[in-house]
Structure formats: structure tokens, C-alpha cells
Symmetry: C2
Subunit: 338 residues, 2 copies
């Protein structure tokens, strides 16, 4: 059904449309790409491609435009990932190496991605559940008020204020702190839940209330995946979408403000591979004309979290995928070092 040449034609259509942002006709195709055949032949192929739903024409007498299905085929089978140039790689490394702490790394990464791809960049903070614990600290703020500080191997710090049922002695607190750390340090979040729960039973009944409260908060912090932080940059690039702004940019900006939506767009953090979601595949009404390219990043083999970019479906997929992959790699390296 789908000739090699028909695929060539589809590839050419996608490339031209991405470059010009205008429907592409048979004549222009024959001229710009040397396909070795005449416009008339290309027209026949285009008719077939349209029949199959890979391209469409906005108006009866206009050129063709790729459909979501067409982009999907292009990404899956017709184009690779375009590696970055050496200067670009060097620039990335240089820029990211200058970061001083986790916030800085994430901040620089998201700005870098936005600049590199000329699109909206999204970076998720290293997930808590996949991190290991470096230290747990308990501080007395007031007689009945304790602050719990949790530090991960990626440098992320979470804090919670605990309102205790009664004043807590420094000795007890020191004891609790020591015991908690002895069992959790170096372990992954997901693995310590049971250990922490069991810990409470080794304290005297007198201390139980306070200990239980603290441990419950700790558990809550460990488990509560909900507070996955994301940052974004490059929203100004949305103005490149087209000239039919109001309708198209509005819902996108709204979607970007909903962190829940953002996280869903990036996809499951467990999936480290690069994912491209095109148009309607995003399952979000306002994002029907946008694509998301995301990939996991992490210090070791598996992903700590995800990052990616969001842009119009008519984006330069090979280039964008190359940039996203490269940035993810370097961020992984940086995090592994610190």
C-alpha cells in the first residue's frame, strides 16, 4: 500500500511544512526535493496518502498538510534523531557545569532547553520516590513544634512542620533522630516505609504519641508523590505558534499552569525512554495542536524524573529530540557528580 516513494513524499511534505509553515503543493515538492518524478506522479501519491489519512488539505485548492497520523509515521519510521553539533554540546556542558545547587541545575536546564529548541521547556524535579535518603534532621522550633528536614542524594530538601501533642525533650529527639537515620540513610524512599513504621514500636509507651506523630509525618513525606515539582520556561516561544493566536495560545497557557496536567504530559517517570506525543495523543482538548517530547533523566540507569519540551505539532522533531536527549544526558551526569 505504502510505496517507498510515497514515504519519501510524506517525509518531504513534513520537512517542507515544518520549514515553511505553509501547505505544500506537488510542484514545490518536485522542485525542492529531487524525487526523480514529475509533479503529476507526486499528486497521485499525495492522493493515496490523503486516502490513508496521513495528510490533509485545509481547502480544496490548497497544498497538503500532515495530520497527526502523518507526523506519527514520520517520527516512528521516516526520521531519526538529529545529534547536536559539537559546539552546541560544549555550550550545554559549560552552561550546566556552572550550577551551584539543585535549584540552579534545574533552573539552568529548563532555560537551556527552551533556548535550544525555541519551545516551551518543562523539567520535573528529581522524584522523591526514586531518590535515596541522605539525612533526616529533627529540629525544635518551639516546645511543641518540631521541624522535619529531609535531604536526598540529589540535593533536594523537603521540610515539614510538626505540631506535637506535648513538649518533646531534647534527649528523646536526639534518640529518635539517630534511630531514624540509622535505618533510612542510603535507602530509597520506596524501601523504607515499612522500616519506619516498625520503628515506632521500639519506644516506650510514654514517648509513643510524639514518636508516632513524627514518624507519620515522615512517612507522609516519603509517600506523598503528589508534590512533584515542575518548572517551565520559554512560554514566550508560544507566540511562534502562528498568527491565529487567541484561540490557540490561550488553552495552552492554561494547561501549563496546571501542574497536574504538566506532569501527565511528561508521562510516567518510570519510563526512561524518549516519548513523543503528537496532537490528540495528549488527550487534552486545549493541546490538540501541540506535541510533547519527553525523556527520563537520571544519574544511573533508571530515570529520576522527566524533562521535555512542548511545541506545535509542526515542530522539527529530529532536532527537538536531539536537543532533549542531549540535555537529559548532561543533567544526569551533573547529578551523578554531586
Amino acid at each position: 500500500m505504502l510505496d517507498d516513494r510515497k514515504l519519501d513524499v510524506l517525509r518531504a511534505i513534513v520537512q517542507d511544512y515544518v520549514a515553511t509553515h505553509e501547505p505544500v503543493g506537488s510542484k514545490a515538492l518536485a522542485e525542492r526535493h529531487n524525487l526523480g518524478v514529475s509533479p503529476a506522479t507526486i499528486r497521485n501519491d499525495m492522493a493515496a496518502l490523503e486516502e490513508e489519512g496521513y495528510i490533509a488539505q485545509p481547502h480544496t485548492s490548497a497544498g497538503r498538510v500532515p495530520t497527526d497520523k502523518g507526523y506519527r509515521l514520520f517520527v516512528d519510521r521516516l526520521a531519526g534523531i538529529k545529534p547536536l553539533s559539537t559546539p552546541e554540546r560544549r555550550a550545554i556542558q559549560l552552561f550546566l557545569d556552572g550550577a551551584v545547587d539543585l535549584d540552579d541545575v534545574v533552573g539552568r536546564t529548563v532555560r537551556l532547553l527552551a533556548q535550544l529548541t525555541h519551545q516551551v521547556a518543562v523539567v520535573q524535579y528529581p522524584s522523591l520516590t526514586r531518590s535515596t535518603i541522605r539525612h533526616v534532621e529533627l529540629l525544635t522550633l518551639a516546645p511543641t513544634r518540631i521541624m522535619l528536614v529531609l535531604i536526598t542524594n540529589t540535593g533536594r530538601v523537603e521540610q515539614r512542620v510538626i505540631e506535637g501533642p506535648e513538649p518533646v525533650g531534647e534527649n528523646l529527639l536526639a534518640d529518635l533522630r539517630a534511630r531514624i537515620n540509622s535505618i533510612v540513610v542510603g535507602k530509597r524512599f520506596a524501601d523504607v516505609a515499612q522500616l519506619v513504621q516498625d520503628l515506632g514500636e521500639s519506644f516506650t509507651a510514654e514517648d509513643r504519641p510524639i514518636v508516632t506523630t513524627v514518624l507519620a509525618t515522615l512517612l507522609d513525606t516519603l509517600v506523598e508523590q503528589q508534590e512533584e515539582r515542575v518548572v517551565l520556561a520559554g512560554t514566550a516561544n508560544l507566540t511562534r505558534f502562528g498568527t491565529d493566536f487567541p484561540m490557540t495560545i490561550r488553552p495552552v497557557l492554561e494547561a501549563l499552569e496546571e501542574h497536574v496536567v504538566l506532569l501527565r504530559l511528561l508521562g510516567e517517570a518510570t519510563e526512561p525512554a524518549m516519548v513523543v506525543r503528537i496532537g490528540h495523543e495528549n488527550m487534552h482538548e486545549g493541546l490538540a495542536a501541540t506535541s510533547v517530547v519527553s525523556v527520563g533523566y537520571g544519574s544511573g540507569d533508571e530515570a529520576l524524573a522527566k524533562l521535555g519540551v512542548l511545541g506545535p505539532t509542526r515542530m522539527d522533531y529530529p532536532g527537538t529530540m536531539g536537543a532533549v536527549r542531549a540535555v537529559a544526558r548532561y543533567v544526569g551526569q551533573i547529578l551523578a557528580e554531586s
Copy 2:
């Protein structure tokens, strides 16, 4: 020069223009506001107002539009601050009371402001320099690596990793921690600099290198105002600006991404009073058509930081100012309680 009636006319023009977003003519003015005079008379007044630079006409045969100078006069002398309705106040309080920690307070505040004003909201985290210190913690991450954690009375937590010149003993660390806390707790950032500096001299020469490094980092954290964090919400509201999007929305989005610009827009944190900056007063090319309403907020008499909104110069100033003031008050209350 400027009659009472001329001022009435200007007020009417501003109100109508804000409501309709269209140049307003003399006839419509006479009909909608009962100024007690005929359109012809109003035309004369309008000519005078235009002469003085308070209004302008986009085209020769169009109605009049307020200039920045006109809005300025309107804000300063012709309009008050419109208080919020009781239900609105209750909604604010309810929504903010649900916050669990500082991040949550700030996050809720900024979303609330955006929703209330239908504009872009900006909230600055409580400034470090104006906060007092609640606790300083020193943690050993690795033999030569120490983490410094700083907790303020507003619940803000700052952390730094210190790479020490040599391994540091737990005893020394505990001693240092105790001594630091004994002199800094409860004091304001600005007031402890000298005290911290002096502290180093009370240690033995042997411990000096490590102590000096730690204290230097602490000082750096205290002084470095630079890292003032701001968050924003409601960028989707920018699409209300007008139909001539591309030109107008682009530079605004770009400006909003520059935190430095944002902070400058909010103004000096030392100024607790409400500030309205109109159009060119922002001294920023891309924001020539936007106004900023900002005000300090804080638990006590003086401002911890600022918050505000940014919108088109043709905004509802009384309503916006009312919302900004009300939100600032409630945030102040919330922070004072915690």
C-alpha cells in the same frame, strides 16, 4: 485649567474605555453618564483634555482613549480603592487558611490573585534580609561535606552545601552549631552579620579553617539578597489584552521570564505602600502597554516582601487595587500566625 467637569469627563472616559475597550465618543459619554451637558460641550472639554495630554485619539475620526498621563491622574485623584465584597473576603480567607506551609501559602496567594483580578499575579517570597532567624542547622553529609540549613520565622528554608578543607569532628560541629544559634536566633538577618564574623575568633587556631569556611557561607547566605524568589500565575490572562496579540504579548512573556525584571517591577521591598506604575513608568520597552499594581505585605508593620498584579494599562484600577490590598492583608495575617 482643569474644571471639575473636565475631570468628570476624564473619569467617565476612563471608566467607559476600561469597560468597552473601545475609543469613546462624546455622544456615548453624554448618554451613559448624566453629566448634565450636551455632547458638544463635552467635545470642547475633550479638546482641552487632549491639549493637556490626558487623552488622545487613535485616528482622526475616532473616539478618545486615555493616555498614561490620563490614567495617572485618574488613579491619583479621580478614583478610590474599591473594597472587596464580603463574600469575596470570606473566600480569600477560606482559601488561604487551607495552606499547610510557606510554599503552599505563596502558591495559593499567587493563584488567588490571578483569579481575583483576571490578570497576571506576582508574589515575592518573604525577603531574607527582613526575616528573623529561627534556627541554623549543620549536618554532616560526608567527612568533608557539611550542609548548612537556615530556617526563618516565615518558614522559609535555605540550604547550602559546604565543601570543607578537612574532615570535621562531630564535637566541633555541635559546638559550632550551638554557638551560632545562641547568637543568631530571633535576630534579623541584617543585624547578625558582625556577630557572626566575630564568632570565628573564639575558636582555636586548629579549628579555624573549618569554622571560617562555615561562617563565610552563612554570611554569604545572609547577605546574598540576590536570590529573591518570585512566583507568578495567570499568564493565560494575557490573552485578554487585545486582538493585536503577537506584538503585544510576546515581550510581556519575555519580561515575565526574567526574574530580575519582575523584581524591579514590584519595586523596592522597603516600600510597604501601594504603588501603581502605569505604562511607560515601568521603564521597560516591552511593558509600555502594561501597568503594575504592587504592595508590600508582612506580618508586622513593615513589609517582608511585595506582591502585585500586572495587566494592560486599560485595567480596572480601583477593583484591582482593592483585590491586591485585601490579599496582601490576609497573607500578612497568615504569616503572622505561623
